[in-house]
Symmetry: C2
Subunit: 202 residues, 2 copies
DNA sequence: ACCTGAACACCGTTCAAGT
DNA sequence: ACCTGAACACCGTTCAAGT
């Protein structure tokens, strides 16, 4: 067979197929991708740095949906909040991919630029240099923690034995639809209030 | 060979071996466990509900180190903070296991009892029933998000190209040793302050 | 009940061979 | 440069056979 006139594969199509598989079944394998693209498994390795490379591509693809526009316009607190919500929404669009993606932070240039912007925003707002990264990392933790929560199946909160933990059962019963959203917004509000205090107290 | 007079395997030893493997190499496989215990791979399946069952056992084992004693004595805010720190410390003791464990929440009875206690504590403190679970879930997100951060390799924050993101490079340079701790404590302080406000405003 | 040996389907990865 | 076919080591899981 040999080399085709026009390449059968490229990184974008491999990434798209991997994301489709993850959306459908929560996982992907290299042979599965090859099968969907009508190609041999080995061919995939000519375009991609192994399975881990595909995971990194997924990370970048999902992160590409983050809208960093809010970071360009103050005030810093609403800008950071909008960024965090968009960051979280990008993950929420592919809940089954979350466990695969949250194991290590995104380090694509495009995302690093967003961190760069955030640093500038916080410095301009008056945060002392040593406080800037903790403030950013704390927000990232918030986003990733609540992303994992979104990925957790709903039935995780359906108790198998309600009598063992009656108060927990009651509290779960009083829980509305937007369970994950409520927890995220609660934590985000606390985070922002605390950062504002850091600024005025410091 | 057949059945030995005294069983060669049990769940505890399988769990211990799996945790050792994860601590050492960040992963485990059923054949690896069997090899370490001087037994055939198939034997492991007589004690454990497949590979996923072993992961669940790891979750329980790691969570067993959480000290829930703080939940028995008020005030609610310091009690919740102590619980969260202990929860996080339990994960921190096995950083390489974190990606494996954070993909779904612990649902072992022992941990559910802790949630039960937390619900009681918050109700007694005066939180309205519908607020209780969001408050707890937000704290859990905080813990898991910062646990993932602890699991991230330190070199994740060593930029390959400092010139592309100069401000980020500066901020990272000003970061002390306890990077992960600082971010966690920042988020925790904000969380607690916000919960206190919910109580007085509500 | 618990261990073995063998089997099955699947995986990630490499590599020489072809164009 | 890019695809194939074949190979390798490894994996999770099942199951009949033994005590």
């Amino acid at each position: 067979m040999g080399r085709p006139r026009t390449p059968l594969l490229d990184r974008a199509r491999i990434t798209t197929t991997a994301l489709e598989l993850v959306d459908e079944q929560g996982e992907f394998s290299v042979p599965q991708i090859a099968r969907r693209l009508g190609v041999q498994t080995a061919s995939v390795y000519h375009h991609v740095d192994g399975r881990d490379g595909i995971v990194e591509l997924l990370r970048e693809r999902v992160a590409a949906a983050i809208d960093s526009g809010s970071l360009d316009h103050g005030p810093w607190d609403t800008a950071m909040a909008a960024w965090a919500r968009s960051y979280r929404a990008a993950f929420a669009a592919h809940p089954r991919a979350i466990p695969l993606l949250t194991t290590s932070p995104v380090r694509a240039p495009k995302v690093l630029e967003q961190y760069e912007k955030a640093v500038g925003l916080l410095l301009a707002a008056g945060f002392p240099l040593p406080d800037v990264m903790p403030v950013i990392i704390a927000l990232e933790n918030l986003v990733l923690g609540s992303a994992l929560d979104m990925a957790a199946p709903e039935r995780m909160w359906e108790l198998s034995d309600e009598t063992a933990t009656p108060q927990l059962a009651r509290a779960l019963g009083a829980l509305g639809e937007g369970r994950a959203d409520a927890a995220f917004e609660l934590a985000l509000a606390g985070y922002l209030a605390h950062c504002r205090e850091m600024l005025t107290d410091g």
